[in-house]
């Protein structure tokens, strides 16, 4: 997002803080893609996403008044989302993160598919499993870049890390996925 875009978002956050429902809905709509990707990166389960997203929305509605810096809405939302995902799984007696590549699910998993699509779906399942097997910090940037179509600058602002870190994590995430797909399960994870 460009400078004016950020200012616009900060203005929306400031209006939302004062109880403007329309502004709150609009700012959430703008950030919905990466928010969904981020939650998926934490949970690895598409079927729970709507419930967690709703919990996140409830918390945002109730806590937006405590947002002191409207220009930092994104990192605030990312932190809140992670906390809500943790609370969601704690209520179910599980801990976060506990992403098991073999348990990674696609949306509409139970839908009956024509035979020609089954193979493609299995390949996709394998790829999603490889992504799910990445360490969290690589998984989250890869999913945000793909689903959220989020720029490097925005990802850096959201995750509170330098832009160069985002670049390097993305490259390494893709490399690790590639290596997992060709069977190199024991990938040495570099430090960033």
């Amino acid at each position: 997002m460009t400078g004016p875009g950020r200012q616009n978002e900060a203005a929306l956050a400031a209006a939302a803080r004062q109880g403007d429902k329309g502004a709150l809905q609009e700012i959430l709509r703008r950030n919905w893609g990466w928010l969904k990707a981020l939650l998926y990166s934490y949970t690895g389960r598409a079927e729970n996403l709507d419930d967690i997203l709703q919990d996140v929305c409830v918390r945002v509605i109730e806590k937006i008044g405590s947002l002191r810096e409207p220009e930092r809405f994104r990192p605030w939302l990312a932190t809140l989302a992670r906390n809500e995902a943790t609370v969601f799984y704690r209520r179910k007696g599980r801990q976060l993160p506990s992403v098991d590549p073999s348990e990674i699910t696609l949306a509409d998993d139970k839908t009956a598919l024509p035979p020609e699509q089954v193979e493609q779906r299995e390949a996709t399942q394998q790829l999603v499993g490889a992504i799910g097997g990445l360490p969290e910090k690589y998984r989250e940037v890869l999913l945000m870049a793909c689903q959220g179509r989020t720029s490097y600058d925005d990802m850096a602002a959201t995750l509170d890390v330098p832009v160069t870190t985002i670049q390097i994590r993305l490259v390494r995430a893709r490399r690790m996925v590639q290596e997992r797909l060709v069977g190199k399960e024991q990938v040495k994870i570099p430090r960033t």
């Binding site: 109880g19 709507d50 109730e62 949306a107 490097y152």
Partner: protein, 186 residues
């Protein structure tokens, strides 16, 4: 992986994510023009990128629309919290609340520090007069000495000079007498 390879990976990634600058694009083009293996690598990287994007989109496809999730959350959220945000989300309301809290806190602290006996200022003593030989005498306070437990730090005196000018003096309990900060026609 050496530095050149990682550099190439970063450039390829930035190209695929639409984040590459013109200078970086020229550098990437140069890499690819000079190295057939790099071109092959770039092709594989591009295919992987598209597969990942497609897989992620498929994985996250579906679910309720954002508006539906938001509306359900709005109904589920606490009306009291929403009202709280409406009132206290404004800068001026926060500032006013802070000032009011500060004022109340100040009064409370003042009340805790000041003993009840000290809150009322002692009545100024009667005027002390100069004796006839013209030598001034330090006046003595007519207020009764402080009783045990009474916290009184200062007594007040007034003195009239032969010229008619009046002085206001304050006497500390440590037997000190000091002129007040103002004098003249009291």
């Amino acid at each position: 992986m050496n530095m050149a390879n990682e550099m190439l990976d970063i450039l390829m990634g930035k190209h695929l994510d639409g984040e590459i600058t013109p200078d970086e694009q020229r550098l990437l083009d140069q890499f690819l023009a000079d190295d057939a293996a790099a071109r092959e690598e770039f092709g594989a990287f591009r295919r992987l990128h598209e597969q990942i994007r497609s897989a992620v989109e498929q994985a996250l496809d579906g679910g309720r629309p954002m508006e539906a999730v938001f509306d359900a959350a709005w109904r589920k959220s606490s009306p009291a919290r929403r009202m709280h945000n409406r009132i206290f989300g404004r800068e001026w309301a926060l500032t006013a609340a802070g000032l009011a809290a500060g004022l109340i806190l100040g009064f409370v602290i003042h009340g805790m520090i000041m003993a009840p006996g000290e809150s009322a200022r002692p009545t100024p003593s009667p005027l002390a007069q100069y004796p006839t030989d013209g030598e001034p005498l330090w006046p003595s306070s007519s207020t009764p000495p402080a009783t045990p437990g009474e916290n009184r730090n200062v007594d007040w005196y007034t003195v009239t000079e032969p010229s008619g000018e009046q002085w206001l003096l304050e006497g500390y309990r440590r037997q000190q007498v000091m002129p007040a900060m103002y004098y003249g026609d009291l």
